[in-house]
Symmetry: C2
Subunit: 349 residues, 2 copies
Amino acid sequence: MANFDPNEHPHIRFNPLKEEWVTVSPHRMKRPWQGQVEKPQESEVPRFDSKNPLCPGVTRPNGKVTPEYDSTYVFTNDFPALLEEGPEPAPSDDPLFQAAAGFGTCKVICFHPHSDVTLPIMSKEEVRAVIDKWAEINVDLGKKYTWVQIFENKGSINGCSNPHPHCQVWASSFLPNEPMVKNRTQKQYYTKHGAPMLVDYVKKELQKQERIILQNNHWVWLVPYWAVWPYETMLLPRRHVLRIEDLTNEERDALADITKQLLTKYDNMFEVSFPYSMGWHGAPTGPELKEDNKHWQLHAMYYPPLLRSATVKKFMVGYEMLAQPQRDLTAEQAAEKLRNLPDIHYKLK
Amino acid sequence: MANFDPNEHPHIRFNPLKEEWVTVSPHRMKRPWQGQVEKPQESEVPRFDSKNPLCPGVTRPNGKVTPEYDSTYVFTNDFPALLEEGPEPAPSDDPLFQAAAGFGTCKVICFHPHSDVTLPIMSKEEVRAVIDKWAEINVDLGKKYTWVQIFENKGSINGCSNPHPHCQVWASSFLPNEPMVKNRTQKQYYTKHGAPMLVDYVKKELQKQERIILQNNHWVWLVPYWAVWPYETMLLPRRHVLRIEDLTNEERDALADITKQLLTKYDNMFEVSFPYSMGWHGAPTGPELKEDNKHWQLHAMYYPPLLRSATVKKFMVGYEMLAQPQRDLTAEQAAEKLRNLPDIHYKLK
Ligand SMILES: O=P(O)(O)O[C@H]1O[C@H](CO)[C@@H](O)[C@H](O)[C@H]1O
Ligand SMILES: O=P(O)(O)O[C@H]1O[C@H](CO)[C@@H](O)[C@H](O)[C@H]1O
């Protein structure tokens, strides 16, 4: 029998952060595609739209006015999923019917006053302003809340309801599922190995050089060994950093650089403004600020839904929902493809 | 302060099967929707299409011919995600780079020779034939494989590219993530309470009558307390049943009845063939057939993506991927809405 080749033979891989497996089916790349592969007419987003609540000077449906901002702009979501206070469910002693209070707040961060720009085509200084805002809001909301989730949904194909460049921040009094699991696994790893899991991981990836796409003095962009989405990636600092506000001035500049570079590669994949969900995970905050959280390492995740073209996405449905995620191209193939994409944005050529 | 009202006040709920929480934001139902609206689904499907590999008598791209079947028809997927054999990855002692063999097989079950029918408008006898096929394949593949995942992806909005009524069966040598977690949680519950979790759960739901939508002598259809998708539901037998093949003749007939009824309600929601992913979970098979699995209870899950209309779906993106699922309408509101839908299929009126 042939030797095992990860780019040829189906196998499963383990995600030590989530303690979950992914099914890898590289042989399936040969499957014919029945859907059409074509570039959609990219609708031009106007620089200003008097009906878009994220544009400067616009009166929002609830009567509030978005001010004439000229850099970033932060406000509380007009329809927040979490509220700062309210009645709490009574405690229940039935393990099958457990509810708890879930307080929090939901913010929107506009990246730029213009609707027709995106991070990769914004200037380095403008991207740096967004990074500083992320750090600032993590400190602000982190005073009170245990978890501050900074995330960006980009692209209508990805459920983003507004084309204006922006992200969201949902802060909560509870540790949500994903960070709860990562908190446990990273703690276990630290206890056993005496080092943070993701610091060790980046070191090993830098040695292997199989899944690294980009790196600079302070950051490493890679496809994790256990990636689920076709072009899922992770962005990690080289240094051990607990929270985004702990990044030095130099690290923030280097983050602005690599963010522009990585989003340029993404956009160049199908010559379209690449849809994704992204977000930051670092050590918890609120009451956790005074606890020992050295097992945590700051990292950003990018989860893009596209698979074969600007219009064909990977559906995580039946088998994925009920059993386990499945991918066709391997993490190594995805990294190679991303590595080989041009470094100059197709719109700036 | 007002009393806590689950249909009014945000809170979080616990899923004891997955040990995960869901954020419930009922106050958010008032939010306007500005995001992506999907193309309305194709309503006219031809009864026979000579290019559709699932139709009787059609030659598939790989040269094989789908026979002239007149009830159900099972065949091996021409591009299976799992293969029955092959080289295996070498063992690794690095906890951050773990791969394992993942063998298996992928089958397709056509429900009916006609492309223009769906389960709710098929006759009871025809649906019963599908149920018998599910039971048969679970026995067949379960001889060898630890997990036999029967699932259906329905609707192009939900990643299904073939409108012909069919489901899939992916059987694997390993226990995938979802059943692995459920195996653990159900075992823990059994050890502590001396009864299967989901048998207890159904009893309690029958007492409460808050989330039950339909019931007959053998089955209960409900919105689980911890539902994530807007109209997510669960279908459970009243009796303690480990695997689908253990269902009696009467239970299978009653399953055909309630399946037609529940899918009729789903279709009547937006008067459209309702998209969903569904599947069965029961006790594991293969080597597990001779182990004690009495902590398991057979159940089907339905995960429909639609939220507000036939064209507006719930996107599980940024916050959901990175932190925790979030829903707007409560499980109780969803159950009431489904309960009040007509019992006669809109196409048969
Ligand atoms: O097998 P199909 O119908 O081509 O594909 C569909 O179901 C599979 C199993 O859930 C998924 O992996 C695919 O992403 C989805 O499009
Ligand atoms: O807040 P938005 O952009 O309206 O909504 C989007 O992001 C939210 C947070 O991930 C999701 O709950 C919604 O399903 C999605 O459409």
